[in-house]
Structure formats: structure tokens, C-alpha cells
């Protein structure tokens, strides 16, 4: 998300960087690029106009701070304005009588049902007992979908099939939740267009009957100019209290986030990444991080947090111990590779590191190439038997041939992986003895070489 926007702004400010101070002409040039970048990022036209004029005024009048170059000053102004437009991160308001009610609304296919399950899971991790209500009686098997997800995460789902009215289901579901002593009720509703009067009436009914603490509009990060109409339409009828942006693990530039926030004034509360139902697939929205990313400054915090979540401390200790005792097997190696992949695609992970979006722009990093290599190593190790992974010494010529065939590579690729693994073992052994050897294979021609 946002990569292209950051590339674009970087090129603008590279140009600006050459001058001594920000002239009005510099600002005009920069603003033209900012406008184009925002439009290409699917920010809605009226929002772009507002944003650009606000930033232009600030930039022209701005004193260049002593410690900053003019280009940096302009970046700072754009950055600040972006954060302002994106707004403060929103927290859920679950105060008042128990159970608190959260109503999820949005267009078809925006990701409501998946998000309901993710939200339930993340609430439970906070120690609040969640409860789900299946009020989508229109889409075939929507009820079954929520039930399946509820079972998967161990959260109770109230449902009446598809013959009752959604507002009745919601009301009776709320009663059931009270009896179950739930802390938070999440109502899944059918996807609908904001111009569908009958279905919007139905949402008003559900709202009236359940008196929700939160009405969250779930929106696809890939949405184009329509974002303004969607957000305005739902807000007008329901007075929504927050936004959830989904499919942020895609490569859409996500201008919809800016548009929707700007026209509704309600905060973005979460962003959804990935289809798997895990609590970390629903992240709290951090405007400054997204703004940093827009400006190509990297999203190091998100990367660090993701890494922290995956590498739980115990696990790290266990591995460290294994490495020191030289018991780090190919199986461990495979597990680690898979963990890295779980953090996102390589390009996604790299995109969070400062400087990388620019390098990608200049073609220095071939994501596909790197992902291809990692995949290859994964495929090779996956083709080994458990025994072979734990004890690579038994890998004779015929075993290697079989592995090559099984993973669709040449025998020499298999040899390379084993060689790298052996070199790593040697390295570990020497490290343990307190020596720090140079091993050519690890730094050049290695996995990432």
C-alpha cells in the first residue's frame, strides 16, 4: 500500500533538494506532483484539492528551519498534513451497559464477515468475552461462514438461518448475548450499496433495536473515487463511528483511507491484513506510520512489532540454545523461513524498511527473484523426509536426486542448500569457541546473494 505515492514524492523532493530555499515555483512544482500522486493513489478529487491547497499555503509561508534542507521542510509539511487528514487512531468505545454492541456495515465483498471474526478474536485476547450475531440473511451461506469462523476461534455465534428478519435476529441475538454474559456483541450484516434504500432502512432498524456503541464501516483498501460516495452514504443514514480498512496487505495505494476519513470525520479504527483469522491480522491504525510510508520513510515500527509478535521470546531462546549447541536442523531452518513469510510477502516486509521503496524504484531489488529463491529453498527442504531434515548427514546422492526431483530443481540446487547449512553449522561451532571466521559462502552466493 502507498508504495507508488512514496516513490513519487521522493522524486519530487529530490528535485527540490537542489535549491537553497523553497521558492513559490518549487512549491508549485511539488504540489503538482503531490496532486498527481494522490490522484493515482485513488484519493478522491475533492479531497485532493483541499489537501493540496492546505499544504501549498503552509509551504509557501513556511520558514525553513535552520537544521532542515528546503526539501525536508516540504516533506515535513506534507507529512504533517497527511497525518492530520488521516486523523488520530480510533479506539473502540465499549463503555456503558454490558454487553457493548458493535455493528459492522459495508458494501458486498468489503470483508465484513472475516473482519467480524478477527475483531472477536482480538477482543478476546484483551480479555473481553465476544459474541457474534449472524444477521446477513441474503448472501448464500453467509451464516455458515460466520458459524465456521466462530467455531474456528471458539466464539459463540447466534443465528436463526435466513428466514427471519435481520433486525429481529439482531435483537434476539442481543438477548442471547446478555444471557451468555458476553462483554461485546458483534453484529455481522449483509453487504449492501449505500443507495439501496430498502436495505439501508433495514440497517437503521438494526441500529434502533440494538443501540450499538460502535457502527463500523468496513471498506476495501482498493476502493477508487467511489470511496467518498460510500462513506457519505453510510454515514448519512447511520452516523457511523469508525472505519476499518481491509485488504491492506494488497498493493493498492489506499487513497480511500484519506477520502473516507476526510468526508466522514470519523476515525479509522483498524486495518485488516490477510485472510487468516488471527488477532494480528487486524492492526490498530497508526496514522503516522501510514504517513511515514506515504513519504517513503519506512514503517519500521510496524515491522518490528510484527516481528516481535511472531518471534515469541521463548521460541527465540530455544533457537538460540539450539544454535549454540549446534543442533539447529534443516527443520528449524524451514520453520524460520516460513515465519519470515508469515510476516508478509518479501516486498511487503522490505517496503517497511526505510530506503527500500526507492531502491525498488531504481530496480536494485527484484522481489520476485528473492521470493523465488526463498520458495525454492522451502520446496527443497519440504521435499526431504523428517529424518533427513533432522539429520542432513544421511543425505547421499540418491536421496539428493529424489529431493531434486520432488521439488522440481536440479541436484546442484539441493547441494547448495545443504552446503549453506553445513557452513552455518561450522560457523556456529567456531562462534561457540569464540572465533569469528570468514566464510565466503555465507556472504556471497548465499541464499540472498
Amino acid at each position: 500500500m502507498f508504495e507508488s505515492l512514496s516513490q513519487r514524492l521522493q522524486s519530487v523532493f529530490d528535485k527540490l533538494g537542489k535549491g537553497g530555499r523553497v521558492s513559490e515555483q518549487d512549491v508549485s512544482n511539488a504540489m503538482r506532483e503531490v496532486r498527481m500522486a494522490l490522484l493515482e493513489a485513488d484519493v478522491a478529487l475533492p479531497i485532493v484539492k483541499d489537501f493540496v491547497s492546505r499544504v501549498r499555503e503552509q509551504a509557501i509561508g513556511a520558514e525553513v528551519h535552520k537544521s532542515l534542507r528546503p526539501s525536508q521542510q516540504v516533506i515535513k509539511i506534507v507529512h504533517t498534513a497527511l497525518i492530520e487528514t488521516l486523523g488520530e487512531p480510533g479506539r473502540l468505545n465499549l463503555s456503558g451497559t454490558k454487553p457493548a454492541v458493535i455493528m459492522m456495515v459495508g458494501l458486498q465483498g468489503s470483508g465484513k464477515t472475516t473482519t467480524c471474526a478477527k475483531l472477536a478474536l482480538s477482543l478476546r485476547k484483551e480479555g473481553k468475552q465476544p459474541f457474534l450475531i449472524a444477521a446477513d440473511t441474503y448472501r448464500p451461506a453467509a451464516v455458515e461462514q460466520l458459524m465456521t469462523l466462530g467455531k474456528q476461534i471458539g466464539v459463540e455465534v447466534y443465528q436463526e438461518g435466513v428466514s427471519a428478519k435481520p433486525e429481529d435476529i439482531a435483537q434476539r441475538g442481543l438477548e442471547a448475548a446478555r444471557k451468555a454474559n458476553a462483554a461485546v456483541v458483534i453484529v455481522d450484516t449483509a453487504g449492501r450499496l449505500q443507495i439501496d434504500d430498502n436495505l439501508m432502512n433495514e440497517l437503521e432498524q438494526i441500529k434502533a433495536r440494538t443501540k450499538p456503541n460502535e457502527i463500523l464501516l468496513v471498506a476495501d483498501a482498493m476502493t477508487g473515487q467511489e470511496a467518498v460516495n460510500i462513506a457519505t452514504g453510510f454515514n448519512k443514514r447511520l452516523s457511523i463511528t469508525g472505519l476499518i480498512l481491509t485488504k491492506v496487505d494488497g498493493d493498492a495505494r489506499g487513497g480511500a483511507a484519506l477520502s473516507m476519513r476526510a468526508v466522514t470525520g470519523v476515525p479509522i479504527k483498524y486495518i485488516g491484513t490477510g485472510e487468516k483469522i488471527s488477532a494480528d491480522a487486524l492492526e490498530v491504525f497508526h496514522p503516522e506510520r501510514i504517513a511515514d510510508r506515504i513519504l517513503g520513510m519506512g514503517d519500521v515500527m510496524t515491522l518490528i512489532e510484527k516481528a516481535e509478535q511472531l518471534y515469541e521470546e521463548e521460541e527465540a531462546l530455544r533457537l538460540q540454545q539450539k544454535m549454540l549447541e549446534n543442533k539447529f536442523t534443516l527443520q528449524d531452518f524451514l520453520d524460520q523461513l516460513k515465519k519470515i513469510r508469515r510476516m508478509g510477502s518479501i516486498s511487503q516486509v522490505m517496503g517497511m524498511i526505510p530506503g527500500f521503496s526507492k531502491m525498488q524504484l531504481q530496480g536494485k531489488i527484484d522481489n520476485q527473484e528473492i521470493e523465488g529463491r526463498i520458495r525454492k529453498v522451502e520446496a527443497i527442504i519440504s521435499s526431504m523426509t523428517r529424518q533427513e531434515r533432522e539429520n542432513p548427514r544421511i543425505l547421499n546422492a540418491s536421496r539428493r536426486k529424489r529431493i531434486a526431483k520432488g521439488s522440481g530443481v536440479e541436484v546442484r540446487d539441493v547441494n547448495d542448500v545443504i552446503k549453506q547449512y553445513q557452513q552455518m553449522q561450522t560457523l556456529m561451532a567456531q562462534l561457540k569457541k569464540g572465533r569469528f571466521p570468514k566464510i565466503p559462502g555465507l556472504t556471497d552466493g548465499g541464499l540472498f546473494g
Binding site: G111, Q145, T148, D220, G224, Q225, E226
Partner: protein
């Protein structure tokens, strides 16, 4: 066809209505160009296509010595139409079994589109079966099966979590054995920048190609009509993994204009075959370029 017309009936006059109202000045000024640009951008055509269209309009205005804004109407409409191909006949005849593979990102409307397409083909007298290839998303198989019951079309399915390539393979064998002449294969929604899932899709396609010579005979990419410029990347990435033969654009009954299809069509050289105009089983209609262009300028 009828539905497309009624769905877009109000839009017919409104193209000329809006353009007429907007371009009502006495002469062509910078403001005229700015207004056209704003309209195109807000219809999701994207900056590049918008600039190309405006460049073309400007040169046409010079060459034909157009001075009056309303003369631009005709040229604008024609230039947009020139960028769109009409749908072609689906390549699903003249053999025992034709296979249609349906792909797209999550939530774009694949399963619903498949049901509507199957209904349409069945009504045309074809013997259609569906393959439940989305084994990942919770209850996706149930969803397709419910549609199958509703439209009276058999669904060949395995259990959740099954290998989608194996599902396609089994479905083809079942379709051959039971004498169906069209098999539509559903796939799990996947984001185009997910390398693994795109590889998986390529594998499903190659399984199909091995099982039936020349298959899949149609590979239709489903695009959400409310998507912005990311649609182009979707098109490019899906086309890298599998050969796309046509597009289905969904949710065009919304106020979204779907203008991103200009760049997708230009880039992929494939036509929009169908558009989705609602949740009813009859709401999938052939793409009509003229009505589509006219609807771009509808102000709801």
C-alpha cells in the same frame, strides 16, 4: 440486454444532460478542460487515461476547429468508445467439454458471477456444472452449492482445505463422465501480490490444461466495479500467472463508474464480457460499450 437497458435507462439522457449542462459556455476555455478532466478522474479513469483522452480531444478540437464546448460532446463520446471493445462470443462451443476458469481478488464477486453466468448458459440450453475450487474461505463451498440448488445446476465439490488443483481435476473427470458440456471452475479470492497464491492459481490452470486439451477455454477475471487504479495491477499480475481471455466487472449498479476498465482493457487486450448489475440471478448482462460510456457521466 433488457436489464442492462433498464438498469441504465436513466443514464441515457444524462450523459448529454450533464455534458450539455456543463459544457454550456460560449467557448472552449481552460475551465472547460478542467471540468472534463475532473469528470474523467472521478469516473476512475485514472490520470494517464484521462490525460490521453484530453490530449486527443485537444488535437481534435484544433484540427476540426471546434470552438463551441458542445461540439466537444460528440468527440469525447467517440474517443471513449474507441477505447472499448464490445464483448465477443465466448469460446465454449464445438467440443465435448468447455472449461471456464473464474479468478479475482477477494470479495470481487466471483461466486455470485459464476452462478449468474451458469444460469445464463443453462437458459441458453447448455448442460452446465460448477466446480467448487474455493476450498480456502470458510463456507465458500456451501455458498456455491446453495447457488447451484437455486439455479438447478450441479456442483462438484470436495471438502474444505482440499487441493484446488485436485478439485478441478476431479470435476473435469466427473463432468466428462456425466456428459456436461460446460464446467465453470470457481477459485479462492487471492490478492495479486501474493506470490504463493498466484503460483497456486497457475498450477490449477495447468492441471485443467492437462486434463482437457486447449482448456481453460475462457479465463475470466472478475473486477470489483468500485475498485480504483489498483485494478490495473490486478489485471497485470493475474495475466502473468494465467492467460486471461475476458473480464467481468461487478457492482456497476452502484454509483461507481468503473472507469478503470479503460486502462485494464488497453493493457491486457481483452474485452469486458459481462457486467454485474445486482444480486439477482438475472443481473449479469453483456457489456455494452455505448451504455457504459454514457453512464460514466451520470450524476446520481
Amino acid at each position: 440486454m433488457g436489464i442492462f437497458k433498464s438498469g441504465m435507462a436513466k443514464t441515457r439522457q444524462s450523459f448529454f444532460g450533464r455534458i450539455g449542462q456543463m459544457l454550456s459556455g460560449r467557448q472552449i476555455t481552460q475551465e472547460t478542460w478542467d471540468e472534463i478532466e475532473a469528470m474523467l478522474i472521478q469516473a476512475d479513469l485514472g490520470l494517464e487515461t484521462t490525460e490521453t483522452v484530453i490530449e486527443y480531444l485537444r488535437s481534435a478540437a484544433r484540427e476540426e476547429r471546434l470552438t463551441h464546448p458542445d461540439q466537444l460532446r460528440r468527440v469525447l463520446r467517440e474517443s471513449l468508445l474507441a477505447l472499448l471493445d464490445p464483448p465477443r462470443e465466448l469460446n465454449i462451443s464445438g467440443r465435448d467439454l468447455s472449461v471456464i476458469l473464474v479468478i479475482g481478488v477477494n470479495g470481487s464477486g466471483k461466486t455470485t458471477s459464476i452462478a449468474k453466468l451458469a444460469h445464463r448458459l443453462k437458459r441458453a440450453g447448455r448442460n452446465v456444472a460448477l466446480a467448487a475450487g474455493d476450498t480456502f474461505r470458510a463456507a465458500a463451498i456451501d455458498q456455491l452449492q446453495k447457488w447451484g440448488e437455486r439455479i438447478g445446476v450441479p456442483v462438484i465439490a470436495n471438502k474444505p482445505g482440499a487441493d484446488p488443483g485436485a478439485v478441478a481435476y476431479d470435476a473435469i473427470n466427473a463432468a466428462k463422465a456425466r456428459g456436461y458440456d460446460i464446467l465453470i471452475v470457481d477459485t479462492a479470492g487471492r490478492l495479486h501480490n501474493n506470490y504463493n497464491l498466484m503460483q497456486e492459481l497457475a498450477k490449477v490452470r495447468s492441471v485443467i490444461a492437462k486434463a482437457v486439451p486447449g482448456a481453460p477455454h475462457e479465463t475470466l477475471l472478475v473486477l470489483d466495479g468500485t475498485t480504483g487504479q489498483n485494478a490495473l495491477k490486478q489485471g497485470q499480475k493475474f495475466a502473468e500467472a494465467v492467460e486471461i481471455t475476458g473480464l467481468i466487472v461487478t457492482k456497476l449498479d452502484s454509483t461507481a463508474k468503473g472507469g478503470m476498465i479503460f486502462s485494464v482493457m488497453t493493457e491486457l487486450h481483452v474485452p469486458v464480457q459481462f457486467v454485474g448489475l445486482g444480486e439477482g440471478v438475472d443481473d449479469l448482462v453483456y457489456f455494452n460499450p455505448e451504455q457504459f460510456v454514457d453512464s460514466l457521466f451520470d450524476q446520481d
